[in-house]
């Protein structure tokens, strides 16, 4: 079990008290490719940010690889995100001052477990998997939107995380690039046994995943 959530409850207290997540139980197995679907405002992104440890304001318990996450300090959570979780957002969030390669290397440098040479080799390897090693030395601001999202995926992969989380990673891409990103995810899931948890609006995308978690008004309905 990569990820385990027990009885997660969350309230938005401002401007008025709003019970946004109600008794959420969710498990993700090793190598499973899960998508979360639901209408806008159903709480699916909120759930993702709690599962990703970035949002700590909730009730309930969260386990990553069997380790209890709830109640840890911010610094410990930063380390867990760095080591165990890879992120892909709707927008790429690359640091525009740096090259593609440097962007991909950044989380690994932060983790600091490997030498600079090894990190660079790893980063080139990830870029090769995503078929974008040709733009490794381009500035992050000088590549196309589809390429940027693939760089963001490479960055999410650099520390060989236990799980990749995506918040509408294809939401900002045209169908061709969206298809491209999906097949990359699929390939990672099948070939490398990576667990994925993707929030999406796109039914076609969701249908092709191993399991669809559907949410409505703060509850998981299927």
């Amino acid at each position: 079990m990569v990820l385990e959530a027990k009885k997660i409850n969350k309230h938005f207290r401002k401007p008025v008290d709003f019970h946004v997540l109600k008794d959420i139980d969710l498990n993700i197995k090793n190598g499973e490719f899960v998508s979360i679907m639901g209408k806008s405002g159903c709480g699916k992104s909120t759930l993702l940010y709690i599962l990703s440890t970035m949002d700590t304001d909730y009730e309930g318990e969260l386990f990553i690889k069997g380790q209890k996450i709830s109640g840890k300090t911010r610094d410990e959570l930063s380390y867990i995100r760095n080591k165990h979780i890879g992120f892909v957002f709707q927008f790429h969030y690359l640091l525009s001052e740096f090259t593609v390669l440097e962007n991909v290397m950044l989380p690994a440098k932060k983790l600091g477990e490997k030498s600079l040479k090894e990190i660079e080799a790893d980063a080139m390897e990830k870029l090769r998997i995503l078929d974008i090693e040709g733009i490794a030395y381009n500035k992050a601001s000088n590549i196309s939107g589809g390429q940027k999202q693939r760089v963001a995926i490479a960055r999410a992969l650099i520390n060989n995380p236990s799980i990749i989380m995506g918040d509408e990673p294809t939401g900002n891409l045209d169908s061709h690039n969206a298809q491209n990103v999906f097949s990359i995810f699929k390939k990672l899931s099948v070939e490398q046994g990576l667990s994925l948890l993707i929030v999406t609006h796109d039914l076609d995308f969701a249908k092709k995943t191993d399991r669809i978690v559907e949410m409505l008004d703060g509850r998981i309905i299927s």
Binding site: M54, S78, F87, L95, E97, P107, K110, L111, G112
Partner: protein, 419 residues
């Protein structure tokens, strides 16, 4: 490793905003530069003005004053103890102008740890004789080399050298006013006569100018032994003792005890020149007020650019936090940017300050008061540079602290969801 990584990000941010970075750094440069220039120039001027007084004035001046005795003989007569006595036309008590037991007193003062030096002087009145004309004047017998050492006498010699006086038995340093009036120059001879009579030829070995015209018109200096010989007095005959202390603060209390123990008059410098210290304090205050204002303005510049940078880099901050950088790491990035701006701006400021002070140091400035000064006085004290750079670092730290704290507290979820 981690520090290098964070500094690398900080550097990249600063380099992409190179114009704003430079403007912020220039703010610091301007602040520190003008602080250095102002404080160097002001303290240079202050020192010059102080030295006008301090150099010439002993910290304690000991002498014997001619004054009426405080109690008249009738006070000792018991029959009139309870009556009111009126004594008219009291004359000053006859006493000698020389200091009694002067040489042991000087030895005792010189042995005191607080005293830098106690110098004997013999002050006499005389006439400078030029043909049939007699000019009234003062002659001071001094220990020339020690005067140079303790009272910067050398600064006022405009012709000749202190050593010449020491080596010439009947030499004299003439006041510039006297020399001008009598058309005398170094190497000439001058006749002087004492009040008691007797004419002595002296050789002019130098001209001095104190800057006080009234003094330069009458005053001359010679060796103590020469003056003692002219006046026909033994070599323990001394009228004044000038004391220089290590710490001027001790002057009033020491003056009191000297006066009390030896029944002499002892005037300390604080009493004699009370107003000059006030002037110095106020000038220093103005200097610091102006400098601090400039640095505060510079600090706001840094505060401003960092705030702007943080707004522009919200997304970067969010992704750094999402990928495992802690709040502290992010704060370090922005705080180090402030410090980089502070260090670069501050060092440039020191350089600018040094160049400007050097420039001022080179501007001609002629003053009657201090004949040895040819350009504006500037104080190149290394402490001002140390204070300057420290102040630059401290003020940029505070200017950067608040924005960096904000960056530390930014919630990445809010930014990512806000898109």
């Amino acid at each position: 490793m981690n520090t290098n990584l964070l500094l690398g990000i900080a550097k990249a941010h600063l380099l992409t905003k190179i114009k704003q970075t430079l403007i912020a750094a220039l703010g610091v440069t301007f602040g520190i530069g003008s602080y250095i220039t102002l404080v160097s120039f002001m303290t240079g001027l202050n020192e010059m003005l102080d030295s006008l007084i301090l150099n010439q004035t002993p910290h304690i001046h000991v002498y014997n004053e001619i004054e009426p005795s405080e109690s008249q003989p009738i006070a000792n007569y018991s029959d009139f103890e309870n009556s009111m006595n009126v004594v008219k036309s009291i004359k000053p008590k006859f006493s000698q102008t020389k200091i009694h037991n002067a040489l042991p007193l000087i030895d005792k003062l010189n042995a005191d740890k607080r005293v830098r030096g106690a110098l004997p002087q013999l002050n006499i009145q005389l006439f400078y004789i030029s043909g049939s004309i007699e000019l009234v004047g003062n002659l001071k017998g001094i220990d020339i080399m020690k005067e140079v050492d303790l009272f910067n006498f050398g600064d006022y010699i405009i012709e000749g050298a202190a050593k010449d006086l020491e080596n010439t038995n009947s030499g004299i340093f003439l006041g510039s006013g006297v020399a001008e009036k009598m058309s005398l120059k170094v190497g000439d001879r001058i006749q002087v006569s004492t009040v008691k009579g007797g004419v002595f030829p002296l050789k002019i070995v130098g001209i001095f100018q104190s800057g006080v015209a009234d003094l330069d018109d009458i005053q001359s200096y010679a060796n103590l032994s020469t003056v003692q010989r002219i006046s026909g007095v033994p070599n323990n005959y001394i009228t004044d003792i000038n004391v220089k202390l290590y710490d001027i603060e001790n002057a009033p209390s020491m003056a009191k005890s000297i006066a009390y123990q030896n029944k002499l008059k002892a005037v300390d410098i604080a009493t004699a020149n009370a107003q000059f210290e006030t002037g110095t304090t106020i000038r220093n205050l103005i200097t610091y007020a102006v400098s601090v204002t400039l640095l505060i303005v510079a600090g706001f510049g840094i505060y401003n650019i960092l705030n702007m940078l943080i707004y522009e880099k919200m997304n970067d901050i969010a992704i750094l936090k999402a990928t495992g950088f802690s709040g502290k790491d992010v704060q370090f990035i922005f705080l180090s940017q402030a410090m980089i701006i502070g260090i670069i701006g501050g060092l440039l400021g020191l350089l600018v300050g040094f160049l400007l002070s050097s420039l001022i140091d080179g501007i001609p400035f002629e003053t009657e008061a201090l004949p040895t000064i040819k350009t504006y006085p500037v104080n190149f004290d290394v402490w001002y540079y140390i204070i300057g750079i420290s102040f630059a670092l401290v003020s940029t730290f505070f200017a950067g602290y608040l924005p960096s704290l904000k960056a530390r507290r930014i919630d990445p979820v809010e930014i990512i969801r806000g898109q």
